[in-house]
Chain length 402, copies 2
Amino acid sequence: MDQSDLKAAPAWQLSERAIKLTSSAIREILKVTERPEVISFAGGLPAPASFPAEEMRAAADRILRDDPAAALQYSATEGYMPLREWLAARHSVGGVKVRPSQVLITTGSQQALDLLGKVLISTDSPVLVETPTYLGALQSFSLYEPKYVQVPTDEKGLVPEGLTPELTAGARLLYAIPNFQNPTGRRLPLERRQALAEFAKRAPFPVIEDDPYGALLYAGEPLPTVHSLAPEHVVHLGSFSKILAPGLRLGYIIAPEDLHFKLVQAKQATDLHTPTFTQRIVYEVVKNGFLDTHIPKVRALYRDQCEAMLDSLKRNMPEGVSWNRPEGGMFIWVTLPSNIDSMKLLAEAVAQNVAFVPGAPFFADEPQHNKLRLSFVTVPPAKIEEGVAKLAALIRAHASHA
Amino acid sequence: MDQSDLKAAPAWQLSERAIKLTSSAIREILKVTERPEVISFAGGLPAPASFPAEEMRAAADRILRDDPAAALQYSATEGYMPLREWLAARHSVGGVKVRPSQVLITTGSQQALDLLGKVLISTDSPVLVETPTYLGALQSFSLYEPKYVQVPTDEKGLVPEGLTPELTAGARLLYAIPNFQNPTGRRLPLERRQALAEFAKRAPFPVIEDDPYGALLYAGEPLPTVHSLAPEHVVHLGSFSKILAPGLRLGYIIAPEDLHFKLVQAKQATDLHTPTFTQRIVYEVVKNGFLDTHIPKVRALYRDQCEAMLDSLKRNMPEGVSWNRPEGGMFIWVTLPSNIDSMKLLAEAVAQNVAFVPGAPFFADEPQHNKLRLSFVTVPPAKIEEGVAKLAALIRAHASHA
């Protein structure tokens, strides 16, 4: 065949949802940041130093030695039962009893969002999201063509008083990230969690609590999850990506059995089940309390990295630039002077081998253009200083032109 | 909290597609067949004896020793590039050159179906399927609410002459399994492949060639894939489930770049990427020609199992029962006397600890009730004889009551 034939792919009719699909801005930027000379504050990638590679290696070896027929075979859509039981026990806190029959293992937390979209969202269904919210959730839900409704937030996160009957009428779900939110790094205070739980109890739709970062608290005591305050009215999403390793793609959904059952049906049609082998590896690694010693190490690493970035920001940033001081997680949210568009700043920064994620794609509607998200977890402190100094110089140049 | 609160899960409004969702009949049966005393001809599970556990164990160990940071980290949505390159080379046969840029790694072949549904099917889009067809494809596509149109088939498989302009008008895709079809075990003859390829070249929609069983040819030469006959007009789906192990959930889509790009966007929103670690394990296992010696062993095993079942059927089945002689794959398709409903027969068989899959769920429309699918790959020959004899006795009892 000749080249002209090779290129003769016909323009097939795509679905409505596919026509609307766009690539993630983060993803396009990550391509640039694969160059080793780039100082990337863009990624939501956990630090590889935190991956328990030797423990996983030993677990993989044991599993394939002792039980290869089961570990490599098809398995139940709901997930590996010992892991579901372990998760149910782990989330049974403060008088709440989570049942293994509520736990569905997913191919990463992202799949949890896809399954919830499949099961809850019809075309033009109102879907409530924070302002801003996780870009990946917007991408997942958008495949089911909802109508987004932004819930008001302030510097502490979602404002429960904003959940008026007018705003929430007809909604199919409310999506929130109470712990160290992506992109803002904010932690929702206790009284707002309580108010959100009370709202969930009255709402005719579920509150989805996405909690991939909850374990990454730098100091002090964790706040109760919204799920623990209204366990039959909140759907809780968890992940092993930030506390073990993201490359295994292991997350989970805790939901009331009625919804769980529909999610299982949807998952069966979506990928049959999450890989058996990776589920068994994670169970082998965590079953004897490994996380009790491992998570504090990840916390300390991220806390020190965060501290380094906060110091760099303080030393370098000009007046008119502000940011939050995260209590955990992976992100700092920066507000620029209102005349600076972070998308334009990104182009200049990348030319100087520094990357971050502009804030605009995190807004379901009416984006704020003077925001940006910085991640500090994979960059050594000396490079953090260098990268922040370069960003600060670019911002200063803009400010002087204003 | 008390028990009444535990059970107070509200009835949340579900999406239209979720309301229509039903569980797979296969899945419900598989639950029964987990009892060790059941002789199950129901599963599409490959024989664990065929899993190369030691090779995978060595590969997992090497990867986690030499490159854990990459193997456990987030990775590209498209998949692990060396594996994509290997697949492109493997499918570059007969003058066809497949480009790595066409290959998308999926979380099992089932996810390929979900992604194609996402990208190609709008509500009420006509979707062409064989009569009967793979139940799992019907489940996947149904989430996108198509209108199924059954393509005529005969004992050789899909009849290309049946693809009239009237039947195919407005279709978004044609889904076919040319090699050892699930559930019928049929292999599409060469001239029909050529006719289907010619149809694909003219059609304003893609022909989807699902090929999980192609390598499981018992004897002789493989027939060319439809994809190889019209590479820019056919989307080819492959899987490692039947030639290595299904528990890893690794499949792939070969598609023209335009469609590939949309599928990547959809996959990003669906699960970000397929687990990095499992992709690397499979690449490590296959990269040096392992399949050249491994696949012949799987073929020989399945051929002998198939032969044992064919012998048992011949010895035991009464007049009026017919079946095909597969040239490969995992399934035999049995036609009962027209007065016997295979769903009712299943209930009786399960009571005697024998299981199979009734034919009806494999039909998109107007099911035939006197068909059933037998899988022979995981049952030892003595048990095959015992199970077939029991089935035959049940059928004989029905026939005598007719």
